[in-house]
Assembly symmetry: C2
Homo-oligomer: 236 residues x 2
DNA sequence: ACCACTTTGTACAAACCGGTTAATTTGCTA
DNA sequence: TAGCAAATTAACCGGTTTGTACAAAGTGGT
């Protein structure tokens, strides 16, 4: 029927599968992180790549496939950074402190990753479930804490009734929230907490709180009866 | 052309603008919280109301208008519940403790609100910005803390270098994260932390940490040099 | 009885958007 | 250098979804 194929101009182009995939993944990660799963637009992603929409489907099948690969890639990147932390030769309290500080900074440096996790949680972890890549990453973080806690208890300075998982929870909460809720918080309360100094202060306080929780409570030589009571946590 | 108007059956109905708006808002809040802004479907919302899609546009203009009203309503509800807390007649340390506990439970009881805030943050607070209603609502939460801190410092038990806003930040972080990241966390680490007992333990620890941060550090009669050093926070 | 506001219904346009069809180019290799 | 699979381009499709137009009528206050 078509006597004139009218193909696109036969401009030269190079084959570069790996590069194209990488390019798509990078753009998609930014888009998904910025707009969420249903908020991100395939056409928009395509427009921002150096290739075309068709290639996205060629390499990733469909939108969910792309999203899943983006998730895995994000976890891989973050995980790689986390492995570098070496704590075995440090005394336990110092190790806990370093780990907490590192987590705080690490999350701060990977806002896109945080946003992807937020999105995952909004979607009830539907896509997380299908990826076996993700569980071990977080497990690694807790493993570090388990070692620290064991050593700390052996030396006799750590409490017995605070578990590594709980510590991980508290550290994660403050480090994660610090990134995830930055927008709404700074909009309501101003940006003081997010200046360089503000962040340093928050981090220091977070570390102090976590270490304080892990350490055995010491008898205090002075201080009001009230404050001491609260420190032991016996309310009723 | 149409000789037969064929209007809807002339069944009796009552006028109830307030009720209709309320009904729409409630359904929309659940839908937006469950699916996000772009994930929620107007038709789906309409189907779940006791009225029609037409009324949504009649009262709210468009999807964004509806979303904005939902946001404001959510903030209003949550803050209204928060106002009930009366702390002025309680000693400062106890007041701080009660406020922290309350916040933890309150967030836990309003997961939809948490989800809406998550969604807002993913959207970079674009809709929050347009609402002048929301800022003052949140400011109220910190005002309570300011009062508590002032009283605590007057009595001499609170540190001077920990601000009410920082305390609010830490309390919010742990209370918010406890709901927002429940899915991914429990998927990775199991559900122990979310059993009744697990939640009680987390809450108690959170309160202990916050109170511990606010209180003046006391000299310790015994304890390793290491642990004491870390308590003062002087690293380098 | 008037009149503005509220409610009901349906059908539909117009945009949006995920996904596909088909043709063409590249580059390897036999 | 012909053949062929992988890579790439551009145009297109059809379902979905937002939002509207139109038409009619009930409600309630004054």
């Amino acid at each position: 029927m078509d006597d004139k194929p009218a193909n696109g101009r036969s401009g030269g182009w190079k084959q570069d599968p790996a590069g194209v995939r990488k390019n798509i993944l990078a753009v998609a990660m930014a888009e998904f992180a910025a707009n969420g799963l249903s908020g991100a637009r395939i056409d928009e992603i395509a427009a921002k790549t150096s290739t075309s929409k068709r290639m996205i489907y060629y390499y990733f099948g469909d939108k969910e496939g792309l999203y899943r690969r983006v998730l895995e890639e994000a976890y891989r990147e973050v995980r790689a950074g986390e492995q570098e932390l070496e704590l075995d030769h440090v005394p336990p309290v110092e190790a806990l402190k370093l780990l907490a500080e590192f987590t705080f900074d690490h999350h701060s440096r990977h806002p896109d990753f945080i946003r992807l996790v937020m999105i995952e949680n909004i979607h009830h972890g539907a896509y997380l479930e299908r990826s076996e890549l993700i569980r071990p990453l977080n497990a690694g973080a807790v493993q570090k804490l388990e070692t620290i806690c064991r050593r700390g208890r052996e030396v006799g300075v750590f409490r017995e009734d605070v578990t590594p998982l709980q510590l991980h929870w508290h550290i994660s909460a403050m480090s994660f929230f610090n990134v995830s809720n930055r927008t709404s918080f700074s909009h309501i309360f101003g940006t003081d907490l997010f200046s360089a100094g503000g962040q340093e202060a928050l981090k220091k306080q977070m570390v102090e709180m976590v270490v304080g929780l892990a350490l055995k409570p010491h008898r205090r030589s002075r201080g009001s009866a009230e404050s001491r009571r609260h420190f032991r946590g016996d309310t009723k």
